[in-house]
Symmetry: C2
Subunit: 437 residues, 2 copies
């Protein structure tokens, strides 16, 4: 019996694309033996044929015509690594509608056009894989969809943006301020020139949204998701965290209340108890904890970004895709049922999302100022757990740091709004969530 040939097209040859090409070239004969197939690299679509790249590949493999490459009848599997949501969307839909298997690491695409793309995948028999979209090389999506499939998850919490985690690690361990740490991240290639997707929490939100969908079958609307980045974090916050046994991390948090029928999705900097395993996930690493009703808490951690880590995830998907095509497959059989299950789910409202909080604010140091501040908390039923410090960095001003007992997002928002209006409060107060399982 002759081996079946699997035709592969690669769209995009950026960092991840180059990593995929390199490792695929290295491991090709390994994979061919293991899978019992012949791999035929049909071509690589790029925007610029002449750009210098770190991988060598035959010139005739390069093309600028993505559509023709996708339409090549010998192409079975399309790996989309161009990013963006316009061209990528068209190409992915085109490939799926032609019955090809699509592998993508494009979290923005899934997040913005998830229902449309999944419907197309469903219609063509279920051929969409996207392990590389969340957690870099960590097999989080496979674990969620397959390994832990018997579980219902009431909590998914993770560090999903390597750039932010690198910056917070450098600020915490080495005392850098935000701007210096960001500059350093750029020097090491961990942050783009425009780092806002990373440090403003957008990238983390995309990933949280994908995890929430995979666990609960519902795409969280952006408007109902709390999205905060790390731009406003100061050394004072990190010092506070450490002093009281916390580590400051940028978290993605997906909660579900099975009884009340809601889910909540948020990404924000938070104080994580230092004995939590996520507190040990440092540098550009990612770490995600899934809490299931059968398995308890399971954490996966590893390199969350970079061409090689994501390439590993893409190659894992490629192996699944090939096995699915040659032996009849398991690929996303569950997504349809999942989407149906998600229909009855609603987003939590602000009364239902509850946690302890940390606040730091700069006050005009006048007589009775603290009494006035505390009254604002009391009026909105937020109880102060601990007034941590009241310092006087400059004459006439004081910095107040405190933590609260668990309070709802609605009530704390009222407190912050009123504090912002108070004449004795000199800057916008800094609000951080304290992560509690």
């Amino acid at each position: 019996m002759s081996k079946p040939t699997i035709g592969i097209a690669l769209l995009g040859l950026g960092t991840v694309g180059q990593g995929v090409w390199k490792h695929l070239a290295d491991k090709r004969s390994d994979l061919e033996t293991r899978l019992g197939v012949r791999l035929d690299m049909r071509g690589v679509a790029v925007r610029n044929l002449r750009r210098t790249r770190s991988v060598r590949l035959p010139k005739q493999k390069l093309t600028t015509d993505s559509v023709a490459l996708i339409d090549d009848p010998k192409v079975d599997i399309v790996i989309e690594l161009i990013g963006g949501t316009t061209v990528a969307r068209k190409l992915v839909l085109r490939a799926l509608r032609a019955g090809k298997t699509v592998i993508t690491a494009n979290k923005a695409l899934l997040c913005d056009h998830g229902p449309e793309i999944l419907a197309a995948a469903q219609a063509s028999g279920g051929k969409l894989l996207f392990e590389g979209s969340v957690g870099g090389g960590i097999p989080i999506i496979k674990s969620l969809r397959e390994g832990l499939v018997a579980n219902r998850f009431d909590l998914i919490v993770g560090i999903v943006n390597g750039t932010s985690n690198y910056i917070l690690t450098r600020m915490g361990e080495d005392g850098l301020d935000f701007e210096t740490a960001l500059k350093e991240a750029r020097t090491h290639g961990y942050a783009e020139a425009d780092a806002s997707l990373d440090v403003d929490g957008i990238d983390a939100w995309h990933k949280a949204s994908i995890l929430a969908f995979l666990a609960h079958g519902k795409w969280a609307p952006r408007a109902r998701t709390l999205v905060e980045g790390i731009r406003n974090v100061r050394s004072a916050d990190i010092d506070f965290a450490r002093k009281f046994g916390y580590t400051l991390k940028h978290l993605a948090v997906v909660r579900r209340d099975f009884k009340a029928g809601w889910m909540s999705v948020g990404v924000y900097p938070a104080l994580v108890p230092s004995d939590n395993i996520l507190a040990k996930v440092s540098g550009v690493n990612n770490g995600i904890t899934l809490r299931g009703d059968v398995v308890g808490s399971t954490t996966l951690a590893g390199r969350g970004a970079g061409g090689d880590a994501t390439a590993s995830a893409v190659l894992g998907d490629l192996v699944d895709a090939i096995l699915a095509r040659t032996r009849g497959g398991i690929v996303d059989a569950d997504l349809h049922a999942l989407t149906r299950a998600g229909k009855s789910l609603r987003m939590a409202d602000e009364d239902e999302i509850v946690s302890p909080f940390y606040l730091r604010m700069t006050l005009r140091d006048t007589h009775g100022v603290l009494a006035g501040i505390y009254r604002i908390f009391a009026q909105h039923k937020v109880s102060i757990a601990r007034v941590v410090q009241y310092e006087h960095p400059d004459k006439g001003t004081g910095t107040l740091t405190l933590s609260t007992y668990p309070a709802s997002e609605r009530n704390i928002a009222k407190v912050v709004a009123e504090l912002s209006r108070a004449k004795t409060v000199l800057e916008e107060p800094m609000l951080l969530r304290i992560f509690a399982t």
Copy 2:
């Protein structure tokens, strides 16, 4: 189209078996919807029909006749949870030879009879799943076989025995001695009356052996594996560890040198740098780090033992098994190729396994005693990195604690043998490995 019916037989109704039954009953309709099948629980084989159990199940489902249950033509999937290697081996082979899919969490069985069982699975089309055998609910086997399939792993290191980890955690964090911590583990149900499988490293060895096979295609012979438990660990060792930035953990370590063509497998207590994520894996949890050439280091951690954690793994396998039977499957397609690849691999010899060491010894406190001790190290080319302390707990004796630079297992064994013979050394020296990536 009517839904296919999948017949399931459960062998054994101990802690894990009861967990599987309970969660399967809870999630049955969920799984049936998701998988598009009807699940038919054909029966549960037990030794004693009258024993009281925490789960309720219809009396007519219980049987003592495992063979008849396996032979039932309506049984498609056999879940083996009886443990042991004699009866379990016969039943597993019988089921595989009849073309049924077998799910097992029996690490001793795989370890002792792996080649025979895998050959039977291979002959019948590859129908063996065993996620529950390592790491409890952590999807480590799926991650290794599927998610990270594009990687070659030069290092697999993990905490794979929850009982030992619980004992070491209690000793380290709360100052208990070994016996007290063990007693407490028994009280909580974390250790059997006979805890030797756990505390002497046998259970960890079984798991290391399975991981080594899955990564490298070779079953490590017991005689070529270093197996040490935690019985001889003293508070002094844990204190030393902490003082110098280490946490004492019982590790399973699988290394591979791709150039030299060897692998090494060892389980032993070791000093782990406290900033390593494994140092944060405490209590009955397990944690395993896989270092792959593409993905870098990925760590999975979670509840390593207990009926529910393992039940989660078994149910994950069950879903894979059902999908494989109904849609044509992916199950262990790789094991045959893997076994072939392992044929050219040899076990490392004692010159090739190298690490820094920690030694604690009790000395007769006489003139020149240290000079004599140091000479023994020098003779065998082991360099002392740091003499940590030389204390005098009793008159006339001294306790010497030191660490070495990286040395081979062969050389350190010579040092220890000679120390044991030396008249100035009063007890068998305590040797611990210092884990270095």
